[in-house]
Amino acid sequence: MRNLPTRYFPAAVVLAAVGLTAASLLVGGYSITFEKLLHDPAAQHMFFVSRIPRTLALIFAAAAMSVCGVIMQLITQNKFVEPTTAGTAQWAGLGMLAILIVDPGAAPMAKMAVAIAFAFAGTWVFIAFLNRVRVKNSLVVPLVGIMLGAVVGSFSTFLAGTFDLLQTMSAWRSGGFSGIVEGFYEPLWLAAVVCVAAYFVADRFTVAGLGRDVATNVGLHYGRVVFLGVTMVALATGVTTVVVGFIPFLGLIVPNLVSMILGDDLRRNLPWVAALGVVFLLACDLIGRTIIAPMELPASVILGVVGAVAFISLVLRQRKHVNA
């Protein structure tokens, strides 16, 4: 019974990813077909300036957020942690707001740097909390993270209200890919690099996921690995937040699905986690693009709703099985 999904899962994910990528390249307000691509310069221009950047941004952001979710789940030894339930994304948003207030005309790179720095600090705050608050119940961890995020978020709201940036803020709070064109998405390559790097150190995270004592016993420098993980998560989350905004729950649903189907060997699973994340986000984005065309629902809104349902069913499922 468990064999069937396990056997066909990789092929299905690859097929879905390829199909959805093609669809993402071809769907939009400006009709592009294969025929036009070959002969029509205007269509070619549109394709390279808008469609390809948007699709790449989707792929990179999805992979990055899914991989971040896995890393965070291993570091905190908790299945319900990801950048939005640990407050990392909210911290990145606060950093972005800070730079907008201090220096509205800052270069995109400066914005990135500040957002990443805030995300980094915020993730450490969360981890320090977990170390101080000896949590018996695994459900408390995301609650603490969400509350931390809420405090940071309300602080951001207050700042934005004071400096008349509320609507700007709500724009990047709901991650949208509609404005992504050439010249905007390039920083996301950094997030892609983080994903690749994560693959090469995946085994260390797997061992770290067994807990500090076990990891230290088998010769792992636990603190160093946690530091590396937090750095990666902060980099990817900071960049993604600045370029496309929050992408809620993706890092939570995807890793859990993959570990249900393929088990917990991170090195083997990481490509599939990234791929399934891409499938998820592309699907949400496509639904958002087509459901009320020519208007657009941002992918994050759909993810926020779908993810909430998935999250709750995960929690219930965990209750039925072994209690962590």
């Binding site: 101080r132 608050v133 609650l143 931390l148 209200g161 994050s300 926020g304 909430a308 349902v309 929690v315």
Partner: protein, 346 residues
Amino acid sequence: MSTLSPSPAASTTTARPAPSTAPPAARARRRLTPGARIAIIAALVAVASACFLLMFIRGSFEFAFERRLTMWGTMIVVAFTQGVGTVVFHTVTHNRILTPSIMGFDSIYTLMQTVLVSVFGGLFLVNADGVPMLLGQTAAMVLFATVLYRWLFSGKFGSLYILLLVGVVFGMAFDSISIFLQRLLNPTDYDMLSVELMGRMSSVDATYLPWAFAVCAAVGWVLWSRRFRLDVLLLGRDAAQGLGINHKRELTAMLIVIAVMVAFSTALAGPMTFFGFIVATLAYQLTGTHEHRYVMPMAFLLGLFTLVAGQFVLQHVFYASGFLTVIIEFVGGALFLLILLRKGKM
């Protein structure tokens, strides 16, 4: 699931880190009976209220006094609903960290307002006939909460943490819909909406207040008549059941009452996430007993004092009268995290 065992009055834990050797003043304070403590706070509230209502009036006395009276009435409602609501919530959920606001109330309020503005435009909120709308919103929120609890207590969910987590996650889902709708608004409508969504003590319509007081009185009577049952519930589920309390029924009833209170407060004065938390936490520290007949009035009076004194100081010392709720939220959020760190467990 370990809970924060409520520390008796003899504990030296205060909201502020206390020195290990208690100063004489603290010893004296510990000797005060709960009744005396409540009397002291009530006196403070009276002084603060008098200052707030009567001092520094420039221009027409009538006008200023009437406005301040309305605001004071709003503060009474908010302090009662948030303070007492949070205390009862803490009792029935057997924890002292999480608050009703976390159950997605603020979010559903925000979503309802956003939908209204999206559909009817910003002027609708300004011109809408006040009381029916307020009652309608409260009813909708209570309905939502009741449906949610019904589902949650149908036996599928064992632990209260799951219930809370579900509330939080629902809240996040509502938020993402609200944020999306807000992006579609034109700037004028958006400004009207954001005024509506910020906690606001000053812009409440006086015609709401009689209704609000009626609701508060009804809820207060219900809770007061159950004050001893609440004391028993504080012992935890098993002990309470052993003493003959129908725990499930009591819990559901109390949660519905809390839903009414929080919903009403949110509809009246906008979302406030940490105000209830701060007031309840202070009330546990300062009452010197666990008996609800003392803790509930204490929470109400402390909440009222916080609002009235805070508003007075902000208005006449810092000239920043609009920032009261924001400052309370910050202090509350900081206190929340501090308590979480100091307790070292949940």
